[in-house]
C-alpha cells in the first residue's frame, strides 16, 4: 500500500480557523485492478459542493496487484517517497513524482478555495443576511445566517451567533435563543452584548436567578456603563429581593435591595425598613392585627435604639413610636386616643425636630401657586431624604387628624367649633406635607360644609371639596355635596333673575307712587344688578295714575305669589324669614284693604240708597 501524505490538502473540509487534521489521504485501488501507464483525469468532490479537477499520470509498465496488496503510494510531507509495499521498482519513482505534483496542484487549488473563495462567498451571504435585520425580516435572516455560520471567519462567526440568537428572540423562540446564548456566553463571558441578551431572555421568562450570573459577568466586563444593562440588573435584583422577602430571607433581601440602590434605577421602590428585623416583624404583626406581637417588636426596637449607629437612632426611635401608636390605634381602647396622639407627635418630632405639630388651615386664597410648588420641590430635592420623611410625616399627621375625628364621634359633647378647629389643625399639617394629597381636602371640606353657619362658610367648604375632587377624590358623599351645591347655585341664579323681573315691573308701575318706587330703587341700587333712579330715565316717563282697589289687590296678590316662588328655594335661609313675615302681613293688609273697599262700596250704596229714597220719593209725590 502506498500512502500519500499531503498536509495542505488534508485540511480540506475543516472549518476555517481551526487547525488542520494531520491525517492522510489514501488512494486505494480495488484488489486485482491494475493501473496501466497513462494519464487519468481525477475529480475530487469537496464537502461544500464544489469540485476539484486534476490529472494523475501513471508511468512505466502496469503491475497487477494481489488481492491483499492494492496499488497505492505514500507521499511524505517532506516530499520523500516510501516504498510501503510491492511496487514496480522500475517506474515507481516517476509515478510517485507525478502523483505528488498532481496532488500538490490539487492542494493549492483547495487551499485557495478554502481561504479565498469560501470566505468571500460566506461574507457576501453574511452581509446579505444582516441587511435583513435592517428590515426586521428575522424570518429570512435566521436561516441565512444559520446556513453560513460555520463557514464564516472567526470574527464574523461570533457576530453571526449573536444575530442568530437575537433573531430567535424577536421570533419568540426563547428556548433556542437561550440555548445558543448560553453556549456563546460560556465561550466568552466578557461579551457584554451576549451577556445582556442572555439575561434579557431569562428575565423575560421570569428566571431572575438565571439572569443574574450573565449580568454579574457583564458588570465584571465593564458593561454596566449602559443604562439599559444597569436597569435590567436592577430589575433582576429587585425581583430576587422580593422573593427573598416572601420566603423570609430578610438578610438576603436587604443585601439585594442594597444592590438595587447601588444600581440606581429603582431606588424609590426599595423598602427603607428592611434593615431592621424589629420593624419588619412588627409591621407584619400590625397587618395581622397582632397587637401584642407588634408591641413586643417595637418595644424591643426602643431598647435596641441606643446600640444602633447614631445616624439611624432617631429614625428607628420614630418608627418605634409609630409602631406603638398603630398598635394603640388598632386596639382602640377607651382613652387610647390620647396615647395615639402622644406617640404620633413624638414620632413626628423625632423625624423633623423643627417641624410644627399644629397648624392653621390656610385661607383658600393662600393655595400655593405653581411658583410656590416649584420652590417646594426644589427644597425637597435639596434636603436629602426629605421626600421620604414628608411621606411618613404626612401619614402620621393624617392619622392624628383621623384619630381626633374618631374620638369626636365617640364623644360628641359641646365645643363644636373647638373640636372642629382641632381636627382641621391636624389635617392642615397633612396638607403642608403634601399639598397634592386629596384626603385632607376631603375631610376638612366635608366637616366645614356640614358645620357651616352661613352661605359664605358653606361656599368656602365647597371650594375645599372641589380641590379634593381635582386631586382625584371620587367618594359618593363628596360628589353628592358638590352636585347639591351646584344645583343651589343654579337655582339661586334663576331666583335673582326672577326677582329682577318682579322689581322692574314694580318700579315701572305708574299706579304706585313715585316716591315709593324711587326710595326702593335707591335702596337696592348699591347692588350692581340694579341701576339707580338717575340711570333709568324711562321711569320718569311712566304715566302715573291712581290705582283702583282691585288693581292694588291684584298687584299685591301677584307680587306675593312670585315672592313665595322665589323664597321656596331658600326656605331655610333665616335671613329671608322677615320677607316671609312681610308677605303674610301684606296678604292680611290686602284683605283688610279689600274689606274696607267693600265696606266703602256698601256705605256708598247705603248713602245712595238713603239719599235716593228721600229724593226720589219726594219727587214722585210732587209729580
Amino acid at each position: 500500500m502506498i500512502v500519500l501524505s499531503l498536509p495542505a490538502v488534508l485540511g480540506f473540509g475543516v472549518a476555517a480557523g481551526e487547525s488542520a487534521d494531520p491525517g492522510s489521504t489514501t488512494i486505494t485501488l480495488p484488489p486485482g485492478v491494475a493501473v496501466p501507464p497513462g494519464t487519468y483525469p481525477v475529480t475530487l468532490a469537496v464537502p461544500d459542493g464544489s469540485e476539484v479537477v486534476a490529472t494523475v499520470v501513471v508511468a512505466g509498465e502496469p503491475v497487477a496487484p494481489t488481492s491483499e496488496q492494492p496499488l497505492s503510494g505514500v507521499a511524505t510531507s517532506s516530499g520523500g517517497v516510501e516504498n510501503a509495499g510491492t511496487t514496480d521498482g522500475g517506474g515507481g519513482f516517476g509515478v510517485l513524482v507525478a502523483i505528488l505534483a498532481t496532488l500538490a496542484v490539487v492542494g493549492v487549488g483547495l487551499l485557495v478555495h478554502r481561504l479565498v473563495v469560501v470566505p468571500r462567498r460566506s461574507s457576501r451571504d453574511y452581509t446579505g443576511a444582516v441587511a435583513l435585520f435592517a428590515k426586521h425580516d428575522y424570518r429570512r435572516a435566521l436561516p441565512a445566517l444559520t446556513r453560513i455560520e460555520t463557514t464564516l471567519p472567526e470574527r464574523l462567526r461570533r457576530r453571526a451567533r449573536f444575530y442568530i440568537a437575537f433573531a430567535l428572540v424577536r421570533l419568540d423562540e426563547f428556548d433556542e435563543a437561550e440555548h445558543r446564548l448560553a453556549a456563546v456566553h460560556r465561550e466568552d463571558p466578557a461579551d457584554v452584548d451576549v451577556a445582556y441578551l442572555l439575561a434579557y431572555v431569562r428575565a423575560t421568562r421570569r428566571d431572575y436567578d438565571g439572569a443574574e450570573p450573565p449580568l454579574a459577568a457583564l458588570e465584571k466586563a465593564g458593561g454596566l456603563t449602559s443604562g439599559r444593562a444597569r436597569k435590567l440588573y436592577g430589575l433582576v435584583q429587585y425581583h430576587r429581593a422580593v422573593v427573598a422577602v416572601r420566603t423570609g430571607r430578610i438578610d438576603a433581601a436587604a443585601e439585594l435591595f442594597g444592590q438595587v440602590e447601588r444600581l440606581g434605577d429603582y431606588v424609590d421602590r426599595v423598602p427603607a425598613d428592611l434593615r431592621n428585623h424589629h420593624v419588619v416583624l412588627g409591621a407584619r404583626a400590625l397587618f395581622d392585627k397582632d397587637v401584642v406581637g407588634a408591641r413586643r417588636q417595637f418595644e424591643g426596637l426602643e431598647l435596641a435604639v441606643p446600640s444602633l449607629p447614631e445616624s439611624e437612632r432617631e429614625v428607628m426611635a420614630a418608627l418605634a413610636d409609630l409602631g406603638l401608636a398603630l398598635a394603640a390605634w388598632i386596639e382602640n381602647a377607651p382613652g387610647g386616643a390620647d396615647r395615639v396622639e402622644t406617640l404620633l407627635v413624638s414620632a413626628a418630632r423625632r423625624l423633623r425636630p423643627d417641624g410644627a405639630v399644629e397648624a392653621e388651615w390656610p385661607d383658600p386664597s393662600a393655595e400655593p401657586s405653581i411658583a410656590d410648588r416649584v420652590g417646594e420641590l426644589n427644597e425637597q430635592g435639596e434636603a436629602a431624604g426629605g421626600h421620604e420623611h414628608d411621606r411618613v410625616l404626612r401619614d402620621i399627621h393624617l392619622l392624628r387628624g383621623v384619630a381626633r375625628l374618631r374620638a369626636w364621634a365617640v364623644n360628641p359633647h359641646d365645643r363644636t367649633r373647638e373640636r372642629l378647629a382641632g381636627v382641621v389643625s391636624g389635617f392642615a399639617l397633612v396638607r403642608q406635607a403634601d399639598s397634592d394629597f386629596s384626603d385632607p381636602y376631603l375631610v376638612v371640606g366635608l366637616l366645614r360644609y356640614h358645620f357651616a353657619e352661613d352661605d359664605q362658610e358653606r361656599s368656602a367648604a365647597v371650594r375645599v371639596l372641589a380641590r379634593a375632587r381635582a386631586l382625584g377624590a371620587r367618594d359618593p358623599e363628596l360628589l353628592r355635596v358638590l352636585n347639591q351645591h351646584a344645583q343651589l347655585v343654579r337655582a339661586s341664579r334663576n331666583v335673582v333673575g326672577s326677582y329682577l323681573q318682579v322689581l322692574d315691573q314694580f318700579v315701572e308701575d305708574g299706579s304706585i307712587s313715585e316716591q315709593v318706587r324711587a326710595t326702593l330703587v335707591g335702596q337696592l341700587s348699591r347692588f350692581g344688578k340694579v341701576r339707580s333712579w338717575d340711570q333709568r330715565p324711562e321711569l320718569r316717563r311712566v304715566h302715573v295714575s291712581a290705582p283702583s282697589v282691585a288693581e292694588m289687590n291684584d298687584r299685591s296678590r301677584l307680587l306675593r305669589e312670585r315672592i313665595d316662588q322665589l323664597l321656596a328655594v331658600r326656605r331655610d335661609d333665616p335671613r329671608l324669614a322677615a320677607a316671609g313675615e312681610l308677605t303674610r302681613s301684606l296678604e292680611d293688609d290686602s284683605q283688610v284693604l279689600l274689606d274696607h273697599a267693600r265696606a266703602v262700596e256698601r256705605k256708598e250704596a247705603e248713602v245712595l240708597a238713603i239719599v235716593g229714597d228721600q229724593l226720589l220719593s219726594e219727587n214722585e209725590v210732587t209729580s
Binding site: D193, H239, P271, E388, V392, L398, H450
Partner: protein
Amino acid sequence: MTVLGRREPVPAECLDELPSLELDVSADGGDELSRVELRRAVLSIAEVDHIAEVDLVSAVVDAMADESDGEE
C-alpha cells in the same frame, strides 16, 4: 434600529430595539413587600382611606345631630 445605508447594525443597536422590561412584582409577592414597609404602610395598617374618612365625618355629624336633638 438605526441603520445607515447598508451599514451593518451593531449589536447594541439591536438590543436597543428590544422592549424594556417593566418592574412588576405582583407575581413575586409584591403584596408581601408592602407588609414589611412600616413607614409606607401607615395608612394601610390603620385602614384609613377615603371611605373610612367619610364614614367618620358622617359619624361625627350624626353624633352632633343626636346630641342637639337630646338637648332640645
